[in-house]
Symmetry: C2
Subunit: 221 residues, 2 copies
Amino acid sequence: MPTAPSTRSSAPARRGRRRHRGRPRNPDAGAATRIEILKSAAAAFRRLGYHGATVEQIAAALRMKKGNLYYYFRNKEEILFACHQYSLDRLLELLDAVERSGLPADAQLRQLIVAFVHTILDELHGTALFLDLEALTPAHLKLVVARRDRFDRGVRQVIEEGMRAGEFAHGDPKLLSFAVLGAVNWIPRWFNPAGTASSQEIADRFADYLIQGFRRPPLKA
Amino acid sequence: MPTAPSTRSSAPARRGRRRHRGRPRNPDAGAATRIEILKSAAAAFRRLGYHGATVEQIAAALRMKKGNLYYYFRNKEEILFACHQYSLDRLLELLDAVERSGLPADAQLRQLIVAFVHTILDELHGTALFLDLEALTPAHLKLVVARRDRFDRGVRQVIEEGMRAGEFAHGDPKLLSFAVLGAVNWIPRWFNPAGTASSQEIADRFADYLIQGFRRPPLKA
DNA sequence: CTTGAAATTGAACATTTGTTCAAACTATTC
DNA sequence: GAATAGTTTGAACAAATGTTCAATTTCAAG
Protein backbone atom coordinates (compact mmCIF):
# COMPACT_ATOMS: atom_id res chain seq x y z
CA MET A 1 0.00 0.00 0.00
CA PRO A 2 2.96 2.38 0.05
CA THR A 3 3.35 5.24 -2.31
CA ALA A 4 7.11 4.83 -2.23
CA PRO A 5 8.61 3.23 -5.30
CA SER A 6 10.97 0.75 -3.70
CA THR A 7 9.36 -2.45 -2.48
CA ARG A 8 12.41 -4.44 -1.47
CA SER A 9 11.72 -6.56 1.56
CA SER A 10 15.15 -6.39 3.13
CA ALA A 11 14.76 -2.92 4.52
CA PRO A 12 17.66 -0.70 3.57
CA ALA A 13 18.88 1.99 5.89
CA ARG A 14 18.92 5.59 4.87
CA ARG A 15 22.23 6.76 6.24
CA GLY A 16 22.66 4.82 9.47
CA ARG A 17 23.64 7.94 11.32
CA ARG A 18 21.86 10.36 13.53
CA ARG A 19 18.13 10.28 12.89
CA HIS A 20 17.38 13.52 11.08
CA ARG A 21 17.59 15.66 14.19
CA GLY A 22 15.44 13.06 15.94
CA ARG A 23 12.23 13.99 14.16
CA PRO A 24 11.65 12.29 10.83
CA ARG A 25 11.96 8.52 10.84
CA ASN A 26 13.34 6.32 8.13
CA PRO A 27 10.89 6.63 5.24
CA ASP A 28 11.95 3.36 3.60
CA ALA A 29 11.74 1.18 6.68
CA GLY A 30 9.87 -2.11 6.51
CA ALA A 31 7.73 -1.74 3.43
CA ALA A 32 5.64 -4.78 4.30
CA THR A 33 4.83 -3.52 7.76
CA ARG A 34 3.94 -0.13 6.35
CA ILE A 35 1.37 -1.85 4.18
CA GLU A 36 -0.12 -3.68 7.13
CA ILE A 37 -0.43 -0.43 9.01
CA LEU A 38 -2.13 1.31 6.11
CA LYS A 39 -4.65 -1.49 5.80
CA SER A 40 -5.47 -1.39 9.46
CA ALA A 41 -5.68 2.39 9.44
CA ALA A 42 -7.92 2.45 6.39
CA ALA A 43 -10.31 0.02 8.04
CA ALA A 44 -10.40 2.09 11.21
CA PHE A 45 -10.83 5.41 9.40
CA ARG A 46 -13.66 3.97 7.34
CA ARG A 47 -15.49 2.70 10.38
CA LEU A 48 -14.87 5.52 12.84
CA GLY A 49 -13.59 8.44 10.82
CA TYR A 50 -10.13 9.94 11.11
CA HIS A 51 -10.66 11.61 14.46
CA GLY A 52 -12.79 8.78 15.81
CA ALA A 53 -10.11 6.17 15.18
CA THR A 54 -7.20 6.17 17.60
CA VAL A 55 -3.64 5.21 16.77
CA GLU A 56 -3.88 2.74 19.58
CA GLN A 57 -6.75 0.94 17.83
CA ILE A 58 -4.87 0.91 14.56
CA ALA A 59 -1.87 -0.61 16.29
CA ALA A 60 -3.87 -3.04 18.43
CA ALA A 61 -5.49 -4.58 15.34
CA LEU A 62 -1.96 -5.60 14.34
CA ARG A 63 -1.02 -6.67 17.86
CA MET A 64 1.37 -3.77 18.07
CA LYS A 65 1.82 -0.97 20.54
CA LYS A 66 1.01 2.47 19.27
CA GLY A 67 4.51 3.77 19.80
CA ASN A 68 5.73 1.45 17.10
CA LEU A 69 3.66 3.17 14.43
CA TYR A 70 5.89 6.18 14.81
CA TYR A 71 8.78 4.11 13.63
CA TYR A 72 7.08 3.85 10.25
CA PHE A 73 5.20 7.12 10.00
CA ARG A 74 5.89 10.61 11.21
CA ASN A 75 2.41 10.99 12.63
CA LYS A 76 -1.23 10.08 12.25
CA GLU A 77 -1.87 12.57 9.49
CA GLU A 78 0.85 11.02 7.38
CA ILE A 79 -0.92 7.68 7.63
CA LEU A 80 -4.12 9.25 6.36
CA PHE A 81 -2.23 10.90 3.55
CA ALA A 82 -0.62 7.61 2.56
CA CYS A 83 -4.06 5.99 2.43
CA HIS A 84 -5.26 8.68 0.10
CA GLN A 85 -2.21 8.41 -2.09
CA TYR A 86 -2.66 4.69 -2.42
CA SER A 87 -6.32 5.02 -3.37
CA LEU A 88 -5.55 7.70 -5.89
CA ASP A 89 -2.72 5.66 -7.37
CA ARG A 90 -5.19 2.91 -8.11
CA LEU A 91 -7.86 5.19 -9.45
CA LEU A 92 -5.56 7.08 -11.77
CA GLU A 93 -3.96 3.90 -13.08
CA LEU A 94 -7.44 2.74 -13.84
CA LEU A 95 -8.38 5.94 -15.62
CA ASP A 96 -5.22 5.79 -17.64
CA ALA A 97 -5.92 2.26 -18.83
CA VAL A 98 -9.45 3.17 -19.83
CA GLU A 99 -8.39 6.26 -21.71
CA ARG A 100 -5.84 4.21 -23.63
CA SER A 101 -8.43 1.63 -24.58
CA GLY A 102 -9.88 3.62 -27.47
CA LEU A 103 -13.32 2.11 -26.90
CA PRO A 104 -16.53 4.04 -27.54
CA ALA A 105 -17.72 6.24 -24.72
CA ASP A 106 -20.38 3.97 -23.30
CA ALA A 107 -17.94 1.06 -23.17
CA GLN A 108 -15.33 3.28 -21.56
CA LEU A 109 -17.82 4.47 -19.00
CA ARG A 110 -18.80 0.90 -18.26
CA GLN A 111 -15.21 -0.14 -17.77
CA LEU A 112 -14.62 2.83 -15.55
CA ILE A 113 -17.63 2.14 -13.35
CA VAL A 114 -16.97 -1.57 -13.06
CA ALA A 115 -13.31 -1.10 -12.22
CA PHE A 116 -14.12 1.71 -9.84
CA VAL A 117 -16.54 -0.46 -7.91
CA HIS A 118 -14.07 -3.28 -7.75
CA THR A 119 -11.31 -1.01 -6.58
CA ILE A 120 -13.41 0.37 -3.77
CA LEU A 121 -14.93 -2.92 -2.70
CA ASP A 122 -12.24 -5.50 -3.30
CA GLU A 123 -8.99 -3.65 -3.18
CA LEU A 124 -9.67 -0.90 -0.70
CA HIS A 125 -12.00 -3.00 1.41
CA GLY A 126 -14.77 -0.48 1.24
CA THR A 127 -12.76 2.61 1.89
CA ALA A 128 -14.75 5.46 0.44
CA LEU A 129 -12.49 7.84 -1.34
CA PHE A 130 -12.09 11.49 -0.56
CA LEU A 131 -12.94 11.01 3.06
CA ASP A 132 -11.62 13.00 5.99
CA LEU A 133 -10.03 15.49 3.65
CA GLU A 134 -10.35 18.21 6.26
CA ALA A 135 -7.86 16.39 8.45
CA LEU A 136 -5.07 16.69 5.92
CA THR A 137 -2.27 19.22 6.11
CA PRO A 138 -2.79 22.12 3.68
CA ALA A 139 0.12 20.88 1.58
CA HIS A 140 -1.18 17.32 1.51
CA LEU A 141 -4.70 18.50 0.87
CA LYS A 142 -3.56 20.41 -2.16
CA LEU A 143 -1.91 17.32 -3.60
CA VAL A 144 -4.86 15.06 -2.94
CA VAL A 145 -7.41 17.49 -4.32
CA ALA A 146 -5.36 17.98 -7.46
CA ARG A 147 -5.25 14.26 -8.13
CA ARG A 148 -8.90 13.81 -7.27
CA ASP A 149 -9.76 16.53 -9.73
CA ARG A 150 -7.78 14.79 -12.39
CA PHE A 151 -9.89 11.70 -11.86
CA ASP A 152 -13.11 13.68 -11.84
CA ARG A 153 -12.17 15.40 -15.06
CA GLY A 154 -11.33 12.07 -16.67
CA VAL A 155 -14.78 10.73 -15.97
CA ARG A 156 -16.30 13.93 -17.19
CA GLN A 157 -14.39 13.76 -20.44
CA VAL A 158 -15.68 10.30 -21.19
CA ILE A 159 -19.18 11.60 -20.69
CA GLU A 160 -18.54 14.62 -22.85
CA GLU A 161 -17.18 12.41 -25.58
CA GLY A 162 -20.31 10.29 -25.45
CA MET A 163 -22.47 13.35 -25.81
CA ARG A 164 -20.42 14.71 -28.67
CA ALA A 165 -20.60 11.39 -30.48
CA GLY A 166 -24.35 11.28 -30.02
CA GLU A 167 -24.33 8.12 -27.93
CA PHE A 168 -25.52 10.02 -24.89
CA ALA A 169 -28.24 12.61 -24.52
CA HIS A 170 -27.01 16.13 -24.02
CA GLY A 171 -26.67 17.43 -20.50
CA ASP A 172 -24.30 18.95 -17.99
CA PRO A 173 -21.34 16.57 -17.92
CA LYS A 174 -20.00 17.89 -14.66
CA LEU A 175 -23.25 17.48 -12.80
CA LEU A 176 -23.84 14.04 -14.22
CA SER A 177 -20.34 12.84 -13.46
CA PHE A 178 -20.98 13.78 -9.85
CA ALA A 179 -24.12 11.67 -9.89
CA VAL A 180 -22.16 8.66 -11.14
CA LEU A 181 -19.30 9.13 -8.71
CA GLY A 182 -21.69 9.72 -5.84
CA ALA A 183 -23.61 6.52 -6.46
CA VAL A 184 -20.38 4.54 -6.44
CA ASN A 185 -18.69 6.35 -3.58
CA TRP A 186 -21.74 5.76 -1.43
CA ILE A 187 -21.51 1.98 -1.79
CA PRO A 188 -19.35 1.42 1.30
CA ARG A 189 -22.11 2.98 3.40
CA TRP A 190 -24.47 0.10 2.80
CA PHE A 191 -22.34 -2.71 1.50
CA ASN A 192 -22.41 -5.81 3.61
CA PRO A 193 -19.58 -8.25 2.84
CA ALA A 194 -21.68 -11.05 4.34
CA GLY A 195 -24.69 -10.07 2.24
CA THR A 196 -25.97 -11.66 -0.95
CA ALA A 197 -24.72 -9.13 -3.50
CA SER A 198 -21.19 -9.79 -4.72
CA SER A 199 -18.99 -6.93 -5.83
CA GLN A 200 -19.26 -8.25 -9.37
CA GLU A 201 -23.04 -8.07 -9.31
CA ILE A 202 -23.01 -4.61 -7.84
CA ALA A 203 -20.53 -3.43 -10.43
CA ASP A 204 -22.59 -4.80 -13.31
CA ARG A 205 -25.95 -3.60 -12.12
CA PHE A 206 -24.62 -0.16 -11.28
CA ALA A 207 -22.99 0.12 -14.68
CA ASP A 208 -26.22 -0.93 -16.41
CA TYR A 209 -28.25 1.59 -14.49
CA LEU A 210 -25.85 4.50 -14.57
CA ILE A 211 -25.21 4.14 -18.29
CA GLN A 212 -28.86 3.77 -19.15
CA GLY A 213 -29.31 7.17 -17.54
CA PHE A 214 -27.32 8.72 -20.35
CA ARG A 215 -29.33 7.21 -23.18
CA ARG A 216 -31.53 9.47 -25.19
CA PRO A 217 -35.11 9.18 -24.03
CA PRO A 218 -37.44 7.96 -26.79
CA LEU A 219 -39.07 10.87 -28.58
CA LYS A 220 -42.62 11.32 -27.48
CA ALA A 221 -44.97 11.13 -30.44
CA MET B 1 -34.91 22.04 14.55
CA PRO B 2 -36.03 20.34 17.77
CA THR B 3 -37.67 16.97 17.85
CA ALA B 4 -39.67 17.93 20.87
CA PRO B 5 -43.33 18.58 20.23
CA SER B 6 -43.81 21.82 22.17
CA THR B 7 -42.46 24.90 20.45
CA ARG B 8 -43.67 27.64 22.76
CA SER B 9 -41.22 30.48 22.90
CA SER B 10 -41.82 31.56 26.46
CA ALA B 11 -39.84 28.79 28.02
CA PRO B 12 -41.81 27.02 30.70
CA ALA B 13 -40.12 25.65 33.76
CA ARG B 14 -40.14 21.98 34.52
CA ARG B 15 -40.61 21.98 38.24
CA GLY B 16 -38.50 24.88 39.47
CA ARG B 17 -36.90 22.70 42.11
CA ARG B 18 -33.70 20.77 42.30
CA ARG B 19 -32.45 19.98 38.82
CA HIS B 20 -33.07 16.27 38.32
CA ARG B 21 -30.25 15.16 40.56
CA GLY B 22 -28.08 17.67 38.76
CA ARG B 23 -27.74 15.66 35.58
CA PRO B 24 -30.48 16.11 33.01
CA ARG B 25 -31.24 19.67 32.09
CA ASN B 26 -34.56 21.18 31.24
CA PRO B 27 -35.52 19.58 27.94
CA ASP B 28 -37.99 22.32 26.98
CA ALA B 29 -35.71 25.26 27.61
CA GLY B 30 -35.34 27.91 24.94
CA ALA B 31 -36.59 26.22 21.83
CA ALA B 32 -35.24 28.96 19.60
CA THR B 33 -31.75 28.70 21.04
CA ARG B 34 -31.85 24.95 20.67
CA ILE B 35 -32.47 25.41 16.98
CA GLU B 36 -29.56 27.79 16.63
CA ILE B 37 -27.31 25.30 18.33
CA LEU B 38 -28.43 22.49 16.08
CA LYS B 39 -27.77 24.55 12.98
CA SER B 40 -24.31 25.47 14.15
CA ALA B 41 -23.57 21.90 15.14
CA ALA B 42 -24.80 20.50 11.84
CA ALA B 43 -22.55 22.87 9.94
CA ALA B 44 -19.56 21.91 12.07
CA PHE B 45 -20.24 18.18 11.87
CA ARG B 46 -20.61 18.40 8.12
CA ARG B 47 -17.32 20.20 7.71
CA LEU B 48 -15.19 18.44 10.28
CA GLY B 49 -17.02 15.31 11.26
CA TYR B 50 -18.45 14.59 14.69
CA HIS B 51 -15.15 14.00 16.41
CA GLY B 52 -13.37 16.69 14.46
CA ALA B 53 -15.80 19.40 15.52
CA THR B 54 -15.44 20.63 19.09
CA VAL B 55 -18.26 21.89 21.26
CA GLU B 56 -16.23 25.04 21.66
CA GLN B 57 -16.38 25.68 17.93
CA ILE B 58 -20.09 25.01 17.84
CA ALA B 59 -20.60 27.49 20.65
CA ALA B 60 -18.15 30.07 19.31
CA ALA B 61 -20.02 30.28 16.01
CA LEU B 62 -22.96 31.53 18.06
CA ARG B 63 -20.80 33.80 20.22
CA MET B 64 -21.49 31.57 23.18
CA LYS B 65 -19.25 29.81 25.64
CA LYS B 66 -19.25 26.06 25.42
CA GLY B 67 -20.56 25.60 28.94
CA ASN B 68 -23.82 27.11 27.88
CA LEU B 69 -24.55 24.34 25.42
CA TYR B 70 -24.97 22.02 28.37
CA TYR B 71 -27.90 24.07 29.51
CA TYR B 72 -29.75 22.99 26.37
CA PHE B 73 -28.36 19.53 25.75
CA ARG B 74 -27.15 16.77 28.00
CA ASN B 75 -23.98 16.26 25.98
CA LYS B 76 -22.44 16.35 22.54
CA GLU B 77 -23.91 13.06 21.45
CA GLU B 78 -27.40 14.32 22.16
CA ILE B 79 -26.78 17.20 19.79
CA LEU B 80 -25.78 14.80 17.06
CA PHE B 81 -28.83 12.70 17.76
CA ALA B 82 -31.10 15.74 17.56
CA CYS B 83 -29.59 16.62 14.18
CA HIS B 84 -30.37 13.16 12.92
CA GLN B 85 -33.88 13.27 14.26
CA TYR B 86 -34.54 16.57 12.58
CA SER B 87 -33.27 15.34 9.23
CA LEU B 88 -35.28 12.17 9.48
CA ASP B 89 -38.40 14.10 10.43
CA ARG B 90 -38.11 16.02 7.21
CA LEU B 91 -37.34 13.02 5.08
CA LEU B 92 -40.18 10.91 6.42
CA GLU B 93 -42.68 13.75 6.10
CA LEU B 94 -41.59 14.02 2.52
CA LEU B 95 -41.97 10.32 1.89
CA ASP B 96 -45.39 10.37 3.44
CA ALA B 97 -46.57 13.18 1.19
CA VAL B 98 -45.28 11.41 -1.89
CA GLU B 99 -46.88 8.12 -0.98
CA ARG B 100 -50.21 9.88 -0.47
CA SER B 101 -50.02 11.56 -3.85
CA GLY B 102 -51.23 8.55 -5.81
CA LEU B 103 -49.13 9.55 -8.82
CA PRO B 104 -47.55 6.99 -11.15
CA ALA B 105 -44.22 5.62 -10.06
CA ASP B 106 -41.98 7.73 -12.24
CA ALA B 107 -43.72 10.91 -11.11
CA GLN B 108 -43.46 9.77 -7.50
CA LEU B 109 -39.80 9.04 -7.91
CA ARG B 110 -39.24 12.44 -9.47
CA GLN B 111 -41.01 14.17 -6.63
CA LEU B 112 -39.00 12.19 -4.13
CA ILE B 113 -35.68 13.01 -5.73
CA VAL B 114 -36.44 16.68 -6.22
CA ALA B 115 -37.70 17.12 -2.69
CA PHE B 116 -34.81 15.09 -1.32
CA VAL B 117 -32.27 17.31 -3.02
CA HIS B 118 -34.01 20.43 -1.81
CA THR B 119 -34.18 19.13 1.72
CA ILE B 120 -30.49 18.38 1.81
CA LEU B 121 -29.34 21.53 0.07
CA ASP B 122 -31.74 24.21 1.17
CA GLU B 123 -33.12 23.05 4.44
CA LEU B 124 -30.25 21.14 5.95
CA HIS B 125 -27.61 23.37 4.43
CA GLY B 126 -25.78 20.49 2.88
CA THR B 127 -25.84 18.14 5.79
CA ALA B 128 -25.43 14.69 4.34
CA LEU B 129 -27.72 12.27 6.07
CA PHE B 130 -26.66 9.19 7.89
CA LEU B 131 -23.32 10.62 8.82
CA ASP B 132 -21.31 9.89 11.93
CA LEU B 133 -23.67 7.10 12.88
CA GLU B 134 -20.91 5.31 14.73
CA ALA B 135 -20.79 8.14 17.25
CA LEU B 136 -24.36 7.54 18.40
CA THR B 137 -25.31 5.71 21.57
CA PRO B 138 -26.51 2.17 20.87
CA ALA B 139 -30.03 3.15 21.84
CA HIS B 140 -29.99 6.23 19.64
CA LEU B 141 -28.38 4.35 16.81
CA LYS B 142 -31.15 1.80 16.87
CA LEU B 143 -33.76 4.53 16.55
CA VAL B 144 -31.98 6.33 13.76
CA VAL B 145 -31.29 3.20 11.77
CA ALA B 146 -34.90 2.11 12.07
CA ARG B 147 -36.14 5.40 10.68
CA ARG B 148 -33.52 5.47 7.97
CA ASP B 149 -34.58 2.00 6.93
CA ARG B 150 -38.14 3.15 6.70
CA PHE B 151 -37.09 5.84 4.27
CA ASP B 152 -34.96 3.44 2.27
CA ARG B 153 -37.81 1.01 2.01
CA GLY B 154 -40.16 3.77 0.88
CA VAL B 155 -37.92 4.65 -2.01
CA ARG B 156 -37.52 1.01 -2.84
CA GLN B 157 -41.27 0.50 -2.92
CA VAL B 158 -41.77 3.28 -5.40
CA ILE B 159 -39.20 1.63 -7.63
CA GLU B 160 -40.80 -1.77 -7.21
CA GLU B 161 -44.16 -0.33 -8.11
CA GLY B 162 -42.68 1.18 -11.27
CA MET B 163 -41.26 -2.19 -12.25
CA ARG B 164 -44.50 -3.99 -11.53
CA ALA B 165 -46.45 -1.47 -13.59
CA GLY B 166 -44.02 -1.88 -16.45
CA GLU B 167 -42.88 1.72 -16.41
CA PHE B 168 -39.40 0.70 -15.33
CA ALA B 169 -37.14 -2.05 -16.55
CA HIS B 170 -36.82 -5.00 -14.19
CA GLY B 171 -33.92 -5.06 -11.82
CA ASP B 172 -32.90 -5.28 -8.19
CA PRO B 173 -34.90 -2.52 -6.48
CA LYS B 174 -32.74 -2.52 -3.38
CA LEU B 175 -29.49 -2.11 -5.26
CA LEU B 176 -30.92 0.56 -7.51
CA SER B 177 -32.44 2.50 -4.66
CA PHE B 178 -28.97 2.63 -3.13
CA ALA B 179 -27.65 4.07 -6.38
CA VAL B 180 -30.26 6.83 -6.31
CA LEU B 181 -29.77 7.64 -2.65
CA GLY B 182 -26.00 7.57 -3.02
CA ALA B 183 -25.99 10.03 -5.89
CA VAL B 184 -28.10 12.44 -3.87
CA ASN B 185 -26.39 11.93 -0.54
CA TRP B 186 -23.07 12.65 -2.15
CA ILE B 187 -24.13 16.10 -3.32
CA PRO B 188 -22.90 17.95 -0.23
CA ARG B 189 -19.39 16.69 -0.97
CA TRP B 190 -19.05 18.80 -4.09
CA PHE B 191 -21.79 21.37 -3.87
CA ASN B 192 -20.57 24.92 -3.85
CA PRO B 193 -23.17 27.44 -2.67
CA ALA B 194 -21.27 30.14 -4.53
CA GLY B 195 -21.16 28.05 -7.70
CA THR B 196 -23.33 28.33 -10.78
CA ALA B 197 -25.66 25.39 -10.23
CA SER B 198 -28.73 26.24 -8.16
CA SER B 199 -30.34 23.60 -6.02
CA GLN B 200 -33.31 23.68 -8.37
CA GLU B 201 -31.14 22.89 -11.37
CA ILE B 202 -29.37 20.12 -9.55
CA ALA B 203 -32.64 18.63 -8.42
CA ASP B 204 -34.10 18.67 -11.92
CA ARG B 205 -31.06 17.33 -13.72
CA PHE B 206 -30.52 14.60 -11.14
CA ALA B 207 -34.14 13.58 -11.38
CA ASP B 208 -33.96 13.45 -15.18
CA TYR B 209 -30.84 11.35 -15.11
CA LEU B 210 -31.73 9.02 -12.29
CA ILE B 211 -35.19 8.29 -13.70
CA GLN B 212 -33.94 7.76 -17.20
CA GLY B 213 -31.79 5.01 -15.74
CA PHE B 214 -34.92 3.02 -14.98
CA ARG B 215 -36.39 3.21 -18.47
CA ARG B 216 -36.43 0.09 -20.54
CA PRO B 217 -33.56 0.11 -22.99
CA PRO B 218 -34.71 -0.06 -26.61
CA LEU B 219 -34.77 -3.65 -27.82
CA LYS B 220 -31.80 -4.40 -29.98
CA ALA B 221 -32.85 -5.69 -33.41
C1' DC C 1 28.94 -16.39 20.23
C1' DT C 2 29.32 -11.60 19.35
C1' DT C 3 27.91 -7.59 17.42
C1' DG C 4 25.16 -4.04 15.83
C1' DA C 5 21.40 -2.33 13.51
C1' DA C 6 16.42 -2.79 13.05
C1' DA C 7 12.22 -3.24 15.40
C1' DT C 8 9.39 -2.97 19.43
C1' DT C 9 7.96 -1.64 23.85
C1' DG C 10 6.61 0.91 28.12
C1' DA C 11 6.25 4.77 30.31
C1' DA C 12 5.83 9.42 30.50
C1' DC C 13 4.32 14.07 28.70
C1' DA C 14 1.70 17.82 26.76
C1' DT C 15 -2.58 18.95 24.80
C1' DT C 16 -6.96 18.82 23.75
C1' DT C 17 -11.59 18.45 24.82
C1' DG C 18 -16.05 16.93 26.89
C1' DT C 19 -18.27 17.89 31.08
C1' DT C 20 -19.56 19.99 35.60
C1' DC C 21 -21.03 23.63 38.58
C1' DA C 22 -21.15 27.54 41.53
C1' DA C 23 -21.38 32.20 40.74
C1' DA C 24 -22.86 36.10 37.99
C1' DC C 25 -25.94 38.17 34.98
C1' DT C 26 -30.57 39.22 32.61
C1' DA C 27 -35.13 40.03 32.35
C1' DT C 28 -39.75 39.56 33.69
C1' DT C 29 -43.28 40.01 37.20
C1' DC C 30 -45.44 41.64 41.31
C1' DG D 1 -37.09 47.99 42.85
C1' DA D 2 -37.15 43.43 45.14
C1' DA D 3 -37.75 38.84 44.04
C1' DT D 4 -37.44 35.07 41.23
C1' DA D 5 -36.78 32.09 37.44
C1' DG D 6 -34.15 31.70 33.30
C1' DT D 7 -29.69 32.12 31.09
C1' DT D 8 -24.75 32.66 30.62
C1' DT D 9 -20.13 32.50 32.05
C1' DG D 10 -15.44 31.23 33.89
C1' DA D 11 -12.83 28.19 35.93
C1' DA D 12 -11.63 23.83 36.96
C1' DC D 13 -11.40 18.71 36.31
C1' DA D 14 -10.85 14.10 34.42
C1' DA D 15 -10.22 11.33 30.68
C1' DA D 16 -8.48 10.49 26.27
C1' DT D 17 -5.06 10.63 22.96
C1' DG D 18 -1.13 11.98 19.77
C1' DT D 19 3.69 12.03 20.32
C1' DT D 20 8.44 11.28 22.13
C1' DC D 21 12.27 8.52 23.54
C1' DA D 22 15.40 5.74 26.22
C1' DA D 23 15.61 1.06 27.13
C1' DT D 24 14.86 -3.53 25.54
C1' DT D 25 14.27 -7.23 22.38
C1' DT D 26 14.82 -9.49 17.81
C1' DC D 27 17.52 -11.26 14.50
C1' DA D 28 20.66 -11.77 10.72
C1' DA D 29 25.60 -11.52 9.57
C1' DG D 30 30.44 -12.13 10.60
